[in-house]
């Protein structure tokens, strides 16, 4: 279902004066979540930058009902909320908004549990590729080669492929998105909200502070991640994996934007930018990503 910008509600969901940094992808993403789901949603947030963006009680920088919770159990809290709404006969979208740490690391057990139980929630991993709220430490979702305050010479390990891990949980919906493509993200949120069971959306969220780029480029870097092939957009639904339109354009290797266009804008890859040998680590990452996706695309679309 194509989404047009003119269809979006005009209500302000991110309030002026909230505590987000300039160019914050989380503030952008949160707006899109509410634009897509409307008022019938409750947000569950573990610790992270979004805990700060809300600001001080008794006010909130985000025009949403939100239940904040400790790091390790956001998915479980959402499961409990959903169970309560169900028992009250209410159809409410319970949405987890968690960072890469709250999703792939400290919150992973709860995520895996809720996915396996196929609890009827939408789980959004807003992935800024490091522990930004504590000051840019590496996470399992930090890409190889990236500088963080705990990987001064660049991370040695590859990014954990969380979307694939979620597909392996056999949940009804898994998708990737980028704040660079709001229409695509909103489209996916709306698709997810129509499905019963566990829905996982992995939103790439380029962080100007942690990735060291000019705050005006958040959306652009979000787009470049897709155009270089480093962050392929896809949607896994009804047991089939489909590559999303914005990634389909850059599918063939010769169509892909050179990775250098992506890294040269980001201070965290300064080490790589200086050394063409080191760039190979990200080229390999792109290959790895596409290899998985193409295997799954083929396997899921050929089955009867």
């Amino acid at each position: 279902m194509p989404v047009r910008l003119s269809d979006f509600p005009r209500i302000r969901y991110g309030m002026p004066g909230n505590a987000a940094c300039p160019g914050c992808p989380e503030a952008m993403g949160l707006r899109y979540v509410k634009m897509a789901l409307g008022d019938n949603a409750v947000l569950v947030m573990p610790a992270g930058c979004s805990s700060v963006i809300q600001g001080y009680e008794p006010k909130s920088g985000i025009n949403f009902p939100i239940m904040n919770i400790v790091f390790a159990s956001a998915a479980s809290l959402a499961s409990g909320m959903k169970a309560a709404f169900e028992s009250q006969g209410k159809d409410v979208n319970v949405v987890v908004w968690a960072g890469d740490g709250g999703t792939g690391d400290i919150g992973f057990q709860a995520l895996s549990g809720a996915a396996e139980r196929n609890d009827d929630i939408i789980y959004i991993c807003v992935d800024n590729e490091a522990y930004m709220n504590t000051g840019i430490q590496r996470s399992s979702l930090t890409p190889a080669g990236a500088w963080t305050t705990t990987t001064w010479t660049g991370k040695k390990e590859y990014k954990k492929n969380l979307p694939m891990i979620m597909i392996a949980h056999d949940v009804p919906y898994v998708a990737t998105a980028s704040v660079g493509y709001p229409q695509d993200f909103i489209d996916k949120l709306r698709n997810a909200s129509l499905i019963r069971g566990f829905k996982y959306i992995h939103l790439l969220a380029p962080c100007p502070v942690g990735w060291k780029f000019d705050p005006r480029y958040t959306a652009k870097i979000g787009q470049l991640a897709v155009q270089t092939g480093l962050w392929p957009l896809f949607e896994y639904m009804n047991g089939k994996l489909k590559i999303s339109p914005f990634s389909r354009l850059y599918r063939r290797p010769e169509r892909k934007v050179p990775i250098m266009e992506y890294i040269k804008l980001q201070g965290r890859f300064a080490n790589l930018a200086k050394d063409p040998e080191k760039i190979k680590i990200l080229e390999k990452e792109i290959e790895r990503q596409w290899e998985w996706i193409e295997i799954l695309e083929k396997a899921t679309n050929n089955k009867k």
Partner: protein
Amino acid sequence: MVMKTLTGNFAVAEAVRLARAKVIAAYPITPQTTIVERLSEMTEKGELEAKMVRVESEHSALAATLGAAAAGSRAFTATASHGLLYMHEVLWWTASSRLPVVMAVAARAIGAPWNIHVDHNDIMDQRDTGWIIGVAQENQEVLDMTIQAFRISEDPYIYLPVMIALDGFILTHTVAPVEVPDQKEIDEWLPPRRQPYIVSPETNIVMGNLTSDDDYYMMRYSIQVAQEVAKKIIEEVDLSYGKTFGRNYGGLVECYKCDDADYVMLLMGSWAGDAKEALNILRERGINVGLARIRFIRPWPSEILKEKLKNKKGIIVFDRSISFGNVGQLFIETASTLYGMTNMRGVIAGLGGVDVKPEDFVGEVVAFVDDVEKGEVYDTIRWLLPPKYRDHKLGVTL
């Protein structure tokens, strides 16, 4: 009303059914497991109309319970020992969120090494979290206390979670006759769910975001106020329950033959039964002993203890737990109330399920009384060692 033979764990399940909990989330752990099993059976067979969230850990169990409570439903969980410790972080979050929740805890030793038997260190470790913590003596009280816990937790003056502890195996797995009230009676006695707020699209509120230090301080103060008020409300609930169902337990403390006693044993949990037997033996021997059984360690019944115990010749506290580097926790609590008012001694006994018999209580009380009469209460902590280690030399000489 119907009489059933129930284990402590099944008594918990019956109480949860009668309270009409709507969401249950729990993770199995010995000796709590049969609570989850029985509640799963009840929900699947339609005896209890509730959603069961079969979580993957205790941390998630309490988080899911809290989520259900936040969304406006009566929610319940149960755990023990390491499960309770694993929940610790969420215990704080739950109490500080001021959401009514009830949890049963099958009190059990903490590792290492592994030990599945009764011990109070798991519950004692949670005293600071803001939860109201009750400890039952026998299976009937387990059922009654669990039902009462919902009313206490959901009282608008309180709005704090309530934990009910029952001794591992001694209560959880031992069958005893239990009077189970009728659903109709409970429906009349237990008001519908009340809570301070609901997080939902209609309410559009944010819960748990940052706050100024000043507001944070005042929120902490308000929990203390609720705990203080709870002292009175727990007594009232106990009286009201007694009026309807014919069973009173004495509110925060069960004072058994305290009034005319010279000396008082102070303890909590299932071994109060053995202590009462010891008390009768001691009285036959002319030692005038009473028993103060702590039913709630939070809120701590300081006023009642002061009133009832300050003029006694001596108080002997039996702890089934220890705060390493100091003394037993019940002793610490009691001393915080009575220190300087009377002679006191703490006995560390029964750790990890070591059996403590009535004659053990008798021996400790006799020794204590001797020392008090001689004016020689020097050791405030004594170890009642397991029988095979009774000759073990205590302490080290450097």
